[in-house]
Symmetry: C2
Subunit: 228 residues, 2 copies
């Protein structure tokens, strides 16, 4: 009996050329490909013709398949001896719930391999010409989710006097470079009051609206950000 396994593959920010060489290799030898909304359809063509392709969905806010069912699906196919490739947009461990899948696989005794990917958090600003770090401008960056539990209040709708953090330069990347461009941030600090305390409203940031098409909306004070 052949032993199955699951490979969590970071598909990158959308462009098929940004898949890793190893990720591509695994994909080409897959029996089963489980993919979500953020994965470019052209990537699926890399899989062998006979491979079973399973779409797990995840539209904005709507999970076509609950996470528990996805985990069970991966386990079931691996137990049948299949080489399963779980294609995830960006990197599997950056807002991809890859950690949960890895835990579920480990708990079920399934061999699991993780192949990191190019994170949209870095590549999307790059595609807009914005380096997330730049000597003398930004020596750190933060990646923060814009999606929160429903009860949150919108950052943009209640711009009440934000508290400044202690220390003049304690917020990464507050300054601007010589061309006046703000250093990039992958997502606007989210809406919850605790975030409002951590970042001032004039912190430069950007929000990748749709990582499949690699657009970015740069941040400016008072500008409304869509959650991603």
């Amino acid at each position: 009996v052949r032993v199955g396994r699951v490979t969590l593959v970071g598909a990158g920010p959308g462009d098929p050329g940004l898949l890793t060489v190893r990720g591509c290799r695994r994909l080409r030898r897959a029996d089963v490909v489980v993919y979500d909304r953020l994965v470019d359809p052209r990537l699926l063509d890399e899989g062998p013709p006979h491979a079973l392709r399973i779409f797990t969905g995840k539209m904005r806010g709507v999970h076509t398949l609950p996470q528990g069912d996805i985990n069970a699906l991966l386990v079931a196919h691996a137990h049948r001896g299949k080489r399963v490739v779980r294609l995830k947009g960006g990197d599997p461990f950056v807002f991809g719930r890859g950690g949960e899948e890895a835990e579920a696989l480990a708990a079920a005794g399934v061999l699991c391999e993780v192949i990191p990917g190019v994170s949209s958090a870095i590549a999307v600003p790059a595609s807009a010409g914005i380096p997330v770090t730049h000597r003398g401008v930004a020596s750190s960056f933060a990646v923060v989710t814009g999606a929160r539990k429903p009860r949150k209040r919108s950052w943009a709708r209640s711009p009440t006097s934000p508290r400044r953090p202690r220390g003049r330069d304690s917020r990464p990347g507050r300054r601007r470079d010589r061309r006046g461009r703000p250093p990039a941030r992958s997502a606007r600090p989210s809406a919850s009051p605790r975030r409002r305390g951590a970042w001032s409203l004039d912190t430069p940031g950007g929000s990748p609206l749709d990582n499949q098409s690699e657009r970015i909306r740069p941040g400016a004070p008072g500008m409304k950000f869509e959650t991603v």
Copy 2:
């Protein structure tokens, strides 16, 4: 006359399989490959045999070739009509000074393309089994350089009462997951007083000591961190 160009390619965290498909394609058609210390030698074998290979160095703290000279080198070869691939460890825009090279190329009128790479900041923790985000544990992460200008004081040598930031959960990833593992941080918040104000000493973190071999030293209060 053929028009030269420079492609800044993120070589990923060391493992040649983690180069992107497009990065690999550019490398295979390069006339000149300019690479630094963090690039795995096996990657260089992907280039065509006739390609000129130029090592720019950058040992710990010692720059074999000053950044200005590297910029001039890229410009010179591009002006001679060469397809230049500038291979940089990790992602070109994460502590890679890729932004400076892109600026220099733009100023010299050289066509410049950027191909993002798998960042060690995410892949190195992943290789140690640590997802940088995990549902219910860490919904954000920060990437901070451990290298600072010489005048800095070491974080570990002066652990004087750190001030806590406002708001109980304003620091990303302070909690631990069910297995007691801390969420990952790519580098320990650095030594400067302003950093000490921003992070408490018990903030979980990790420091990738050598991104070529993909080792990680997890953070714990009182543990000394090497700068990277």
